[in-house]
């Protein structure tokens, strides 16, 4: 494994720049794993998985959180920002570029249909993620109730997000304390 401080800042930046630029269709975490653990051996698999768990628990995009975790592990605060900026720089300009192209061609009849098709398929990918997450987190009664309560509060009633989460999350955490670690995945 690379020792702390042994990896150059520029290398961190460039690796994440490449991951960001070529990450069409999502699945960025897989690319990060391949680059950081398998190819460059910047960190152990154990470190990576633990970092991935934290990235998912904490608020924010999972992959930006993961890049912060890796960058910080390698080179501290500045390493974290090298990774984050690298990851977002190209997609930032590309998403705007894609949108400008889209605006130019959006009057063509079939483009609107294509857009709906892409959106529907993308929603499908979200459904799969949600289904998998639900199969894990909704296994016990408290978890299932939390999933439904959150969906109703934020999705159906459209109550403000942060206060809703701040009410539901502590209750859910308190409830999951009662289940022993045997329930833990």
């Amino acid at each position: 494994m690379a020792e702390q401080g042994a990896v150059r800042l520029l290398d961190i930046f460039l690796v994440f720049l490449r991951i960001g630029a070529f990450s069409f269709g999502g699945g960025l975490t897989g690319w990060v794993y391949r680059d950081v653990v398998q190819q460059r051996q910047w960190m152990s698999e154990q470190d990576f998985l633990s970092g991935m768990a934290v990235s998912q628990i904490l608020p924010g995009a999972n992959v930006t959180n993961l890049s912060i975790y890796i960058g910080q592990k390698l080179r501290g605060t500045i390493g974290a920002f090298a990774a984050l900026v690298g990851l977002l720089l190209v997609p930032f300009f590309m998403v705007i570029g894609f949108f400008l192209i889209y605006q130019d061609i959006s009057h063509i009849g079939w483009v609107a249909m294509a857009t709906d098709g892409v959106a529907a398929a993308a929603v499908g990918l979200l459904m799969l993620t949600t289904w998998r997450a639900g199969a894990q987190s909704g296994r016990n009664l408290a978890g299932a109730i939390t999933v439904i309560a959150t969906f109703v509060t934020v999705g159906l009633l459209q109550l403000p997000l942060l206060p809703s989460v701040l009410c539901i999350a502590p209750l859910s955490i308190a409830a999951s304390r009662k289940h022993g670690p045997k329930d833990a995945k």
Binding site: G60, V118, L125, S137, R177
Partner: protein, 182 residues
């Protein structure tokens, strides 16, 4: 007036950044509510378009927010919205990353992990609901969505971008062949 919009972008997206438990799909429902119904930065139709474009482009899917910023206040709006969404959660992550390892194995550590998971799941379900509700999604949208989910579930090696392209082709084909407004 423009700086008003920039402040609004910050006021809206910073709390969302810190509430995006389980990843940014969890805040899509709220982003939609604010951007379309409360602030009027984009129409319901535009929201679906921005969602599709951001999914077709590289990078995290949450760069939908960059485009909402762009629609609201041009390039500077895109920049402000992007920072507002990614910076707060990143700073929190940075602080936790520095101390996290020390706490693993403690009982509350795994209780937090287990307790937050269903909240994230519920939020993601709300996001799906919000996108389909505004899209005025017909049966074809549901078929394509569920079809992609099942296909990727059964064949995890399929590149997601292929499914997006397939979704587009199916819609175009149905439109030209049947002429059905779906």
């Amino acid at each position: 007036m423009r700086s008003d919009v920039l402040v609004k972008l910050i006021v809206v997206f910073v709390p969302f950044s810190l509430a995006a438990i389980g990843g940014t799909p969890s805040i899509f429902a709220s982003i939609h509510h604010e951007a379309v119904e409360v602030q009027g930065w984009v129409t319901a139709r535009e929201f679906v378009e921005l969602f599709a474009v951001s999914r077709g482009a590289p990078g995290p899917g949450s760069m939908l927010v960059t485009l909402i910023g762009w629609k609201a206040a041009g390039f500077i709006g895109a920049l402000v919205a992007t920072f507002a969404l990614y910076l707060p959660s990143s700073l929190l992550m940075l602080v936790i990353a520095k101390i996290w390892g020390r706490f693993s194995g403690r009982p509350w550590h795994s209780a937090v992990q287990r307790g937050l998971a269903p909240v994230g799941t519920g939020l993601m379900a709300a996001g799906i609901f919000a996108i389909f509700k505004t899209a005025g999604a017909g049966p074809l949208s549901w078929i394509v969505a569920i079809g992609s989910a099942v296909l990727l579930g059964l064949l995890p090696k399929v590149h997601p971008l292929l499914l997006l392209v397939a979704g587009a082709m199916i819609f175009i084909a149905c439109d030209t062949l049947i002429g059905a407004r779906v």
